[in-house]
Symmetry: C2
């Protein structure tokens, strides 16, 4: 069906959002046009402001409006602890857990030579310089458990050892509060192999 | 956690989209910021252009950039048939079915006095004027089967009868291609009551 050109353009543009296909895009566009034009205009402006105004923190590479992100600029954080994560969303998840009071370094990905993602794309040169200039007491690896995540963790651990910084890795195993039969078999194998004496 | 203000504003603004909560908004914002800034800027521009440039077709009330929408401006459509639907999405669904070659009238809602939606909000005065000036051969009701949808259908049928226009209603019953035990009991009751002799 021939739709007005601006509606077609909006339906197409909405599909750049993750998890949004033709049907969801249609639902979103019609909702905004019929019922929430003010919200839609706010969204357009918020998108423009965020995409044009947010860069990377020069210390941790997380999203930031200024040279430093709010976490790196906060003097109450423990600068002796440095946690390395793959994505900004991981920082958010760890902050919501409320346990960690140190700083972060965000890789924005993991080593994947076939996709052209090498040490430079992950800012590992900048991480090495930071470890040399202001070495933390401990570097905590919190990368994922995919093959690429493991390779990335290995590479970062090497950098830390070269700089004489102690390295640790977050614990992997059976998550709390679930039924054992719902946990996948890889995690169960790992949990068995890494069992601790009581 | 303290996020940059522009990121907070974007997370908040994304939640005006239907079906998008805190977690999806986060996933969308991080995806655009990390991996598709060009797509995000295109979306911002498409939203602005659509919301500022799309109004209602003066004949059918569907979304339109000009005075008339593409369907009403198309001389190949059969102006003797007029199908009344609740939402622009219904027009799209009927057009995708490919069966109908007439014109439409979009109510943008259904009668719901408690929500302040009366005949005027649905453009029924405009529909009455159209039925008087250029009466179609047949008016087809394709409103929903909720209580409000039924009341709306009843009201529109009255308008058509006053104008001396024949009224029909699309068939309701068991959809094609499914298992009978997956159809809800209201639909099954209706299908039984409205059975046809062979």
């Amino acid at each position: 069906m021939r739709q007005p050109a601006r509606l077609e353009a909006l339906l197409e543009a909405l599909r750049c959002l993750p998890g949004v296909g033709a049907k969801s895009a249609q639902r979103m566009a019609f909702h905004l046009l019929s019922r929430d034009r003010a919200g839609g205009l706010r969204l357009a402006e918020a998108l423009r402001a965020a995409l044009e105004g947010l860069g990377e923190c020069e210390r941790c590479r997380n999203f930031a409006e200024e040279a430093l992100c709010p976490l790196c600029a906060d003097p109450r954080r423990d600068a002796e602890l440095l946690c390395v994560v793959e994505q900004p969303a991981d920082v958010l998840a760890l902050e919501q857990a409320g346990e960690y009071r140190g700083l972060y370094f965000v890789l924005h990905g993991r080593l994947s030579p076939l996709d052209g993602i090498g040490p430079e794309e992950l800012g590992l040169d900048r991480l090495a310089a930071r470890l040399a200039q202001t070495p933390p007491r401990e570097l905590i690896l919190a990368t994922g458990t995919t093959v690429e995540g493991e390779a990335t963790a290995h590479h970062v651990a090497e950098l830390a050892r070269e700089a004489g910084v102690a390295v640790s890795r977050i614990a992997y195993g059976v998550p709390l509060g679930g039924e054992l039969d719902l946990v996948d078999s890889h995690t169960l194998s790992l949990a068995l192999n890494q069992r601790k004496a009581l």
